[in-house]
């Protein structure tokens, strides 16, 4: 086996370096094309201390998303958002200093073929990829061409993933391992699910790759709790609810900063 650190791509190197420096990782999400000037949200996230930024490429049938991301996807599509236009917007951005991770459903990857899709991501400066309806046993056709293109697809693990497949997911995932905190869709929840801690622990026992907890993490307090078990968090619906309610980049900068602060405090306490 190759040393995972040496084989890591730029997303993973970046996240490992920050994690190894004692920092709780924060990856906020925004639906691409959600509003005119939507890329301003990205700069706000970076300013507020994001360690990576997830950009959703909206799909007509987001089967793993709860109502908030569904609404955001529909709104973006209604504005005329498409993979091509979103990537063109991203290609025009200055370097934000943190890696961009695209997330979308596999139909959009297959549309022009995984090879062309990954090449388009790379041209737009996107280095990471999340495809929630592409489980590890179907990912073969993407993983090889992604590696060749320099794109790192992160695989998802869920609370019901059995041990053997969990090990396979952790081994084949690139960039980080996406730990789905609960059995459900994306969307805000009142508390951090009990399954989150257990899953994050199970992944950490079989892999040294950064582990990000996502699904349902919506408040600074939940982020702080999640940080006790995982290397960091993904925050999507809590961001998009605010965006849908009209919050601009400055409002989001303030919200992301509260998450950043919570993660930093937890690091201080555990350190």
């Amino acid at each position: 086996m190759t040393n995972p650190t040496l084989a890591a791509g730029e997303v993973e190197r970046h996240l490992r370096a920050r994690r190894d420096g004692g920092r709780g990782l924060l990856m906020p999400y925004v639906t691409g094309g959600i509003a005119p000037g939507w890329t301003d949200y990205l700069s706000a996230f970076a300013d507020a201390g994001a360690d990576a930024i997830e950009v959703g490429l909206p799909f007509s049938d987001p089967t793993l998303d709860g109502v908030t991301i569904q609404r955001a996807s529909a709104a973006a599509l209604a504005r005329g958002a498409s993979t091509r236009r979103i990537l063109a917007d991203l290609a025009g951005l200055p370097d934000l200093g943190v890696p961009l991770v695209a997330s979308t459903y596999y139909n959009l990857v297959l549309h022009d073929g995984p090879e062309a899709f990954c090449a388009a991501l790379r041209r737009a400066g996107v280095a990471g990829l999340i495809v929630p309806d592409l489980p590890v046993h179907e990912a073969g056709e993407l993983m090889d061409v992604a590696a060749a293109a320099g794109v790192e697809p992160a695989l998802l693990a869920s609370p019901t993933t059995p041990p053997t497949r969990l090990a396979e997911i952790a081994a084949r995932s690139r960039g980080f391992v996406y730990a789905v905190s609960l059995m459900g869709t994306t969307g805000e929840r009142d508390g951090l699910a009990a399954s989150a801690a257990e899953l994050a622990g199970r992944i950490r026992r079989v892999s040294d790759r950064p582990v990000l907890l996502g699904f349902g993490i919506s408040t600074p307090d939940q982020a702080r709790r999640a940080r006790r078990h995982a290397d960091g968090v993904v925050v999507g619906a809590a961001v998009m609810r605010r965006v849908l309610d009209g919050a601009g980049p400055d409002d989001l900068r303030a919200f992301i900063a509260t998450l950043r602060q919570a993660l930093d405090q937890e690091c201080d306490r555990s350190g």
Binding site: D61, T63, S82, L110, A157, T160
Partner: protein, 401 residues
């Protein structure tokens, strides 16, 4: 690009419509493109189905339910007056005569029995026209299970009677208000719900779509149509096997079940799609609702909305095995317009005294067109699956005629 073999060379490739290849593949199609949270649940369904299907006890229990509750076997009805008018010999496989009025009950009784065997207490289902929802509610009541049925708001308006039937049978009907508010969105919502309920609920998919093992399992539960029809044709027809076997295709479950009985014969298989929902005829390779198949999409890869007078054909894709049969050239897929289907429904009513579901009327509309246009040579024998009865469509037809 795919090479599509000519359909008029019906030499059946070995193993067609047998068990799918590894990882649930029918050729390049199928697979288990489920979110990781559903992969384990799919594996459990797969394992349980394999064990059950190999268990004579399960097969016997299902056969008995199909007989005493659903009214199987269904008859093969020669369509005498219509045959004479068309110049072909048309036989109807009468799934409209099953309990609940469509072929959907065959699959649902199988899955409900499987759910019981797996210790599940609740069935989740999506429904378009409401036929699968009614069948699910029926099977749940029969076996003492709870049922939650997701149905698009637009379909709820179109099929008010079926909504009431489901509620009367004790099922919870959940309106789906997202997207086109039809079958596609109801399916997405049912999948989302299943993610949070895998522990106690079985997702009872109504067609030959979804992640592996559903396309295969649903076809196997529906093959009773084809197996019965094969035996009935052997007894009824001088040639033993009909020249053509025709069925309507939305997701394609009645067609898959029908074709399965004839895949290894010389019969030419024809799937009839709605013009506005022609996944097999006009779809493009994609992944939706857990499987890789052919789907209607725009230039950006977004799934487009299907439109059909028949709610059960309002699905923008087709089951993966149909995509495969199409590529093999083993089956041919054609389309029929709303008007042709409505006219065919009326014609069947007036010549044979049978009011078909608008879905089934699509299959008949093609037979009528093909008989007139020479696609069906004079004197040829045609088996057509009449997948459901038309009571549910009477108000739609009333507005149209």
């Amino acid at each position: 690009m795919r090479t599509v073999s000519p359909w008029w060379e019906p030499a059946p490739p070995d193993g067609t419509m047998g068990e799918p290849r590894a990882r649930g593949r029918f050729g390049d199609y199928g697979g288990r493109y489920a979110p990781e949270s559903l992969v384990e649940a799919c594996r459990e369904v797969d394992q349980a189905f394999r064990e059950a299907w190999a268990d004579p006890g399960f097969r016997g229990a299902l056969a008995r339910l199909l007989a005493v509750h659903a009214g199987r076997p269904t008859p093969l009805t020669p369509a005498g007056r219509l045959s004479e008018a068309l110049g072909v010999r048309l036989y109807l496989k009468r799934e409209d005569l099953t309990h609940t009025g469509s072929h959907k009950i065959n699959n649902v009784l199988g899955q409900a029995l499987l759910a019981t065997r797996m210790g599940r207490r609740r069935l989740i289902a999506e429904t378009g026209a409401g036929q699968h929802g009614v069948a699910t509610a029926t099977a749940a009541a029969l076996l003492g299970l709870d049922a939650t049925v997701f149905m698009g708001e637009r379909d709820i308006e179109r099929q008010a009677l079926n909504v009431f039937r489901m509620r009367m049978l004790g099922a919870e009907v959940v309106p789906v208000t997202t997207g086109s508010r039809t079958l596609k969105d109801a399916t997405s919502e049912a999948m989302r719900h299943w993610v949070g309920a895998t522990g106690d609920s079985h997702y009872c998919i109504g067609s030959v779509v979804g992640p592996d093992p559903y396309p295969w399992m649903v076809r196997e539960f529906q093959r009773v149509i084809g197996d019965e029809a094969r035996a009935q044709c052997a007894a009824e027809l001088r040639t033993g096997v009909p020249d053509h076997v025709v069925a309507c295709v939305g997701g394609g479950s009645n067609a898959a079940g029908t074709f399965a009985g004839f895949a290894d014969t010389t019969a030419r298989l024809v799937g009839v799609e709605a013009e506005g929902g022609a996944g097999a005829s006009r779809g493009r390779l994609g992944v939706l609702h857990g499987c890789r198949s052919l789907f209607l999409q725009d230039d950006d890869g977004q799934i487009t909305e299907a439109h059909s007078i028949a709610a059960g054909l309002d699905y923008p894709g087709v089951g993966p095995e149909h995509a495969h049969l199409r590529d093999l050239g083993r089956a041919r897929y054609v389309t029929v317009s709303d008007d042709e289907a409505a006219a065919a429904a009326v014609r069947l009513a007036r010549t044979e005294g049978i009011v078909p579901a608008l879905e089934s009327a699509h299959a008949l509309a093609w037979v009528i067109r093909a008989a007139a246009g020479g696609d069906l040579p004079a004197g040829s024998t045609v088996l057509m699956t009449l997948s459901g009865r038309g009571d549910k469509d009477v108000s739609t037809l009333k507005e149209l005629l």
